[in-house]
Structures are given as structure tokens and as C-alpha cells.
Symmetry: C2
Subunit: 442 residues, 2 copies
């Protein structure tokens, strides 16, 4: 059914970055048909949602996420990246079965929708990635993702796989899911990071991505020790190594890039590679502060993401936007990372991370109808200048202010209630499977 949002403050994120007061958004056949004033037409078969006094904006898009890890939330504090992976995350991931993976994904998409996100680029564990796609299929969430590829010799024994098996399972998943459900689900080739992948695998991923025209999603230069080990192993800096292997380009999304060299920033810009900034995760794992304003100034595409729940501990774009706006200011000054720049990372930037910038990231006629409606009338956002809704959105709002969420023209959250998932069943299942995984790991 067609849907009309009326009388909202519409943050379009179009080229002119127009913010329209008391404007409507008309949604037809899953796409935005028109944005403007007085779009209500008589007699049409139209569901009307009055959003007076509320802010209508493009749904948030996380450019880096691990749905498989959401069950490990609050169980992995006080560790740096490599210890965090070896001591907690890999053993936990190895203890997953298809049911616990589904529980983890359901919890992920429920939390994401509640917090105004409509799409994400996800990295799975080595196995059970069908369960993540099934959860996205059923919850109506927009997902691009893939199984983690881990064929290096010293990978965790419960996750290690052969190069051939890794590629074969990736291709099978790609065949089953890529472009399905009206183009809402896409496959991405997902080598974990240099230290868990052979050179052979990485080269083959680069080749396959071009052949199959799918995205590559991996981690790079997150942690200083990791960067050092990569240099020892390959003789190259991390991003430069990916470039040499033929992986860089607009179809590659690199999570983190906390420690790029100046040359690597140039490489990222020249190749159109997308970087996903994960501010909460970078702080919690003590990884460092990524040079995000500097990369943006250089012309690199940078988006935002929550990473995994055990290194955050939320999956919440409001939390990440606020952090991204604040954490760089002591270095670059109070005008660095203003709200409009941060909101662009969370919307248009995320669309680029998924390679869907012509389809997502702004409220413009012809794009997919992925929309979030936010209530700024709460005490914690009051007062604000009605001519500037971006400041309260980025600095003061939180995900409990999200009222409605629409994905592909379908209401998935209405009046703060999930329509495609049962929140209490999801929470109960998450607790049960999380305890089972913690027990199995020992």
C-alpha cells in the first residue's frame, strides 16, 4: 500500500541538503515518489501517517557490523583487539550453532530498527550465515553481508577452514542470497582481516568480486600491533597490501583505518575505497582515534558503524554519531565534525559502503523508501531552534526517540513498536542462547 508521511520536518540529504519544514514524503511501490508540500491527494488508496512536529530523515546505514556477535554483548570487556579476538570472540563464535546465530541476528535487527537503522554491511562468523540472511529476510531489514573467510594456518581451530572450502561456501551463499527479496539482500565477500587470510584467498577474493560484481568487506589497520604484524608478514602497510592484491576500489569497504599512513590515505581517495569509522569500538578496544576529519578533508568516503556489540556495547547510530562528532574536536577544533558532516556519514556514507548510493541515503524521488522518523520533543532534546534540527539530532537525541521506521516502503517500527519481530521473545531467546554459548565455550 502507498504511504504518505505528512507535516514533518524533512531532512532530505539531497544535493542541496534541503531541510523542509511541514513537508510530506509520498511512498509508492517501495520507493519515494515525491518529497514536498501538500502531497495529499483525495481519493487515492493511501495510508497516511501524520508526523507533525517530528523529523523525517533517511534511515541510518551502518557500514560495519557483526550480527553474529550481538549475543556476546557485555561479555568481553578490558581487552585489546588481538586478545579480545583470541580469548573471547573466536571461542564464542566457534560455539555458535544455526539456532544461536538466528537468535543473535534477530536481536541485532531488532535493536537496529529500534534505533532508526534501515540497512547494514555485516560480517558473519565462518559458519551459519544463512541464519543471518533468514533473519534479515523475515525482519524486513536491508542487509549486505557475508560469511567471514578465515583460511590462515594460525586461525582459531574451531573456525579454521581451507581456502577452497572458504571460497566454495562464499559462492554458495552468494548464489542463494545475492540480489534476492527485491534487491534488499546482497552478498559481500568478507575476508576477516590480513592475519586470518592467506594471500591466495585474498587475491581470489579480489578477482571474484570483480567477476561477480559484489562488494568486499574487511578490516584494516585497526590496532597498532595488528599493523606491525601485517608489516612483518607482508612487508607492506595493511591498506597498501590490499591495494597490491587488487582489492581496493569503490566496491571495497574497510572497517576502522585507525592507523593509515599518509600514502594510504591517498590510496583510499584515489581508488574510491570506502572507510567505515567505528568510534565506540575504537575507544573500547583502546585501538586509537582514526584520522576521520583528515580522511574526509582528503576526499576519502567515510561512513559510520557500530561494529560488534561486545566492543561497543550498543548497536546505535545515535551513540556513534555523537561520539564521531565529539571525539575528534580536541584535535581538530570545535568546528571539526559538525552535525551535517556526521549525519552525511550515517546516511549517504553508509549507502556508499553498500554500493547503493543511487538507491539509498537520501530522501529523493526514485530512491528506495528507507525512512526514519524521530521525535525531538523529549526533555533531553528540549529546547532547540526549529531552524536547526541537525544539532539536536546529532548531539542530543537518542534511539529511544525513534518513532517510526520504514524499509523498502514497509513499516517495520510504528509508534516505537516493532512490527516484524517480537521484542520480548527476541530478548528471551538471546539470553538463553548467550548463556549456552558461554557454557559451551568452556
Amino acid at each position: 500500500m502507498d504511504l504518505l508521511l505528512t507535516n514533518g520536518t524533512v531532512v532530505t540529504m539531497n544535493r542541496e541538503r534541503e531541510v523542509l519544514a511541514e513537508a510530506d514524503v509520498l511512498i509508492q511501490d517501495g520507493r519515494i515518489a515525491r518529497v514536498g508540500r501538500n502531497l495529499r491527494t483525495r481519493g487515492a488508496s493511501l495510508r497516511v501517517l501524520d508526523v507533525k512536529g517530528r523529523v523525517v530523515l533517511p534511515g541510518f546505514i551502518h557500514g560495519h557490523l557483526h550480527a553474529c556477535q550481538t549475543l556476546f554483548r557485555n561479555r568481553a570487556d578490558g581487552l585489546e583487539l588481538l586478545d579480545w579476538l583470541r580469548e573471547r570472540i573466536w571461542p564464542f563464535e566457534a560455539a555458535h550453532d544455526a539456532d544461536s546465530m538466528r537468535a543473535s541476528a534477530d536481536l541485532t535487527f531488532a535493536e537496529l530498527i529500534r534505533s532508526g537503522a534501515t540497512a547494514a554491511l555485516d560480517m558473519g562468523s565462518v559458519r551459519h550465515y544463512d541464519a543471518v540472511f533468514e533473519s534479515a529476510r523475515d525482519s524486513g531489514f536491508r542487509l549486505t553481508g557475508g560469511k567471514a573467510m578465515m583460511d590462515a594456518p594460525d586461525t582459531h581451530p574451531g573456525l579454521a577452514e581451507s581456502t577452497e572450502a572458504s571460497l566454495a561456501e562464499s559462492l554458495a551463499l552468494l548464489e542463494r542470497w545475492h540480489g534476492t527479496h527485491g534487491g534488499r539482500l546482497h552478498y559481500a565477500l568478507t575476508p576477516r582481516f590480513v592475519l586470518s587470510c592467506t594471500e591466495k584467498l585474498l587475491r581470489e577474493v579480489g578477482r571474484l568480486a570483480r567477476e561477480k560484481q559484489v562488494r568486499i568487506h574487511t578490516h584494516a589497520s585497526e590496532n597498532r600491533t595488528e599493523c606491525e604484524v601485517v608489516r612483518q608478514l607482508t612487508g607492506r602497510d595493511n591498506i597498501a597490501w590490499f591495494h597490491e592484491l587488487g582489492l581496493t576500489g569503490p566496491h571495497l569497504t574497510l572497517a576502522h583505518c585507525v592507523w593509515p599512513t599518509a600514502e594510504e590515505i591517498g590510496l583510499l581517495r584515489d581508488t574510491g575505497t570506502v572507510v567505515c569509522h567505528c568510534p565506540g569500538s575504537n575507544l573500547k578496544l583502546a585501538s586509537g582515534i582514526a584520522p576521520v576529519p583528515e580522511m574526509l578533508d582528503a576526499g576519502v568516503n567515510v561512513c559510520l558503524g557500530a561494529d560488534g556489540a561486545p566492543c561497543n556495547n550498543n548497536l546505535d547510530m545515535f551513540v556513534e554519531m555523537r561520539l564521531a562528532a565529539l571525539m575528534h574536536k580536541p584535535r581538530v577544533g570545535p568546528r571539526g565534525m559538525p552535525p551535517e558532516r556526521v549525519l552525511e556519514m550515517a546516511t549517504l556514507g553508509g549507502a556508499r559502503a553498500l554500493g547503493l548510493e543511487s538507491e539509498l541515503g537520501s530522501l529523493e524521488a526514485g530512491k528506495r523508501a528507507d525512512v526514519t522518523v524521530v521525535d525531538l520533543s523529549g526533555l533531553h532534546t528540549t529546547p532547540f531552534d526549529p531552524r536547526d534540527v541537525l544539532s539536536p539530532l546529532v548531539y542530543a537525541a537518542r534511539s529511544s526517540d525513534v518513532v517510526h521506521v520504514i524499509i523498502d516502503g514497509r513499516l517495520v517500527l510504528k509508534d516505537r513498536t516493532l512490527l516484524t519481530l517480537d521484542a520480548s521473545a527476541v530478548a528471551a531467546s538471546a539470553h538463553q542462547h548467550s548463556a549456552r554459548i558461554a557454557a559451551r565455550r568452556r
Copy 2:
């Protein structure tokens, strides 16, 4: 009426830092009578609140706040401290009248109670501080605060006052409010900062604080330019200057201390002076990152505070706790600032900032009954290990998880509803007065 909280997970913050599962808290005559198992007694005239599955903890205490600035929220982005004060905050403050001040204070205490705070150390503007006390009196909030003292020659013309007038109004407010309402309201002498106070005023504040046995609340070493100007004016570092003037001691709370010298950290420790860390504010104003883990390791008393809404833009201890836990980790490692240390700053640390550590900050028999009850069953905190509620509290919870708040044994928030303030009337009044102030300022 006596009140019994039953079957909660009680985070006592007592000397042993006990966390009691399925425990009760018995409140009688505004104080905690007992904490333990099965305190329910038959026949007693007792109101019982079942908090099964919820976390019961000491109310949060902000060690630095500006209730007068809450109306300026979302209207002062992109500026460093001194410009922020001169271009926005002082002109806004000068445009306050008693009614707008009351609206600002009502909004402040409503937001604070909703976010689980039960007490604060506040700095007013130069005038209309009675309105802030009146709001605290009526809302049931626990307040120690005072009017800002600003007698230096180059202070904003709409705020400037003579040394004599500043002292006289402070003493009049002290007489009217200090120790009133069952000891819930206290006066603090509140010179704004070195740059807006004469040496004569600061010396007199030091003398008066000892004579009247009240606290001193001021700012120190927040911004590098400020520190330089203080050195030029006084020939001393900021904290060292306060020490020389006779202000340091356990009765002094210094907001910020982003740039203390090594000797000054020693001074803070040796004198028992309390420092209030304001992580959100320090980032937003690009002030820097205070050496908080280092000060704590040195034995300095450090608490937490939200500062003012226009430099944050929330007044939310969950936001500050999360930031305090995260922002220092890249410097001090992932085990720096663990949840227990951060929670201590937000409770016992705040009690020291108010000089009320024998009365507040933990749930122990004999202390005032200032209690916050938090629901950790939300999707964004799920799952967690039931043996560790501190990790979800600090890293994952948010203020919308606060269910009940009790101050001095009185329920002021029940089932997420404010009992002493009308949230929608407070918001409407805030919008109206904020627009008036913005117009008056021009």
C-alpha cells in the same frame, strides 16, 4: 511512609562493593534502614515496590552543572570555551529573568531525575538564583549550588557586579537556603573562574567558606588559552593560584582540570580537593582530555558531571559514564577506567563533591535514601552475565532505562513518570522562554 524495594540486584557501593542478588532495601524516615535479604515484615505500614529483575543503585550525583544554561541547549555549537562564553553563554545568561530561570531549572531537574540523578553541585548565573533553589525545593531534587560571582572588570556588561554586591548577594542566598528543607538544599560559594573574579573576591571567598563552613565551587584549567591567560595575569598556574589564595581543600570542587601540571596534581591530592570530570563538555568545546585515570591513580578525588546543556548537549550520567569509560582507553589501555571505577565517580565521587560522603553515594544503613532503579531488560542491554551488572550499566544502558528514582525517601519518578514535575508543561515553558531569551539577546 516507609518504603521497601524488594527482590532487586542491589549495587551497594559499600566499602566491600557488594552486589546483592534478590535483595531488599528498606527505607524509613528518608534514610536507608537496612539492605539485605527478606526484609519484608508482616503488618508494618510499608509501601512495597517489587523491583525483581531490576538493578537498584545509589542515585547519580553530578559534581558540576549549570541549571541556568539548560534553556540554551542546541544553541551554542562550534565554539571553544572563551568564545562560547563571550558570544553565546554570557549574553544568554544576561537575558534571563526570574521566570526563564525557573523554566531552565525545572527542565534541568526533570531531565536529571529522568536520567537517574538525585543530586548535583550547580553553578548559577549572576542573578535569579532563588529561582533555581525554588525549583529544587518543589521538584524534590537534592541541590548544592550558588550564584556565579563575576566582579572582574572585563566581565560581560550584562552580568558584571561589584565585589561587595557579589559577596552580599551570596551571603543573602546562603542565609535563605543553606541547610534548609531537611538538609536537602545547601549553598556553595561559586566564583565563576579566575578570569571573571578579582583577587580580592577570591581571597574573601576562601575566608568565608571556612567561616561559614560551606563549599566552594568553581572552574579550573579547562582550556589551554584560559590557562595561559591565567598565568599571564597571576604569574601562577590556575590550581596553584587557587592554592595560594587559600581556596584548596576537601571543601573545594574544581570543574574540569583538563590541563593540571604534575605539581598541581600533587596539590589536588595533598589538599583533598575534589575534581569534577566533564567528558562530554571537554570534547564538545575542544578543551582536551583530562588526565583522569592519572589523577585517580595519584589519589585525587574525581567525580563526574554533565556541565551545561549547551556544551554537551545532554544532562545524563549514563552518557558521561560511557564517555568516561571509553575516552581514556586509547591512552591508558582497555583495562583503564573499568565500570566499577566509573560508577564510583558517578556516586561516591559526587557525594564528595557535595561534601556529603557520610550521607550519600552508597546504599548503606544510615545514609539518606537517594536511590535509582534501572531496567536492564531492554534489547540494547541484552544479553548480559547476571553476575556482572556493572558492564551493562556503564557501557550499554541509557537513561530511558531508569524506572524509579527516590530522593530523601520520596518517590520522584515512578514507572518512568515524573511525580513532582509535569514533563509536557516543563517542555512547553522551556521552548517559550528559550525563544524569548534568544530574541532578547539580539
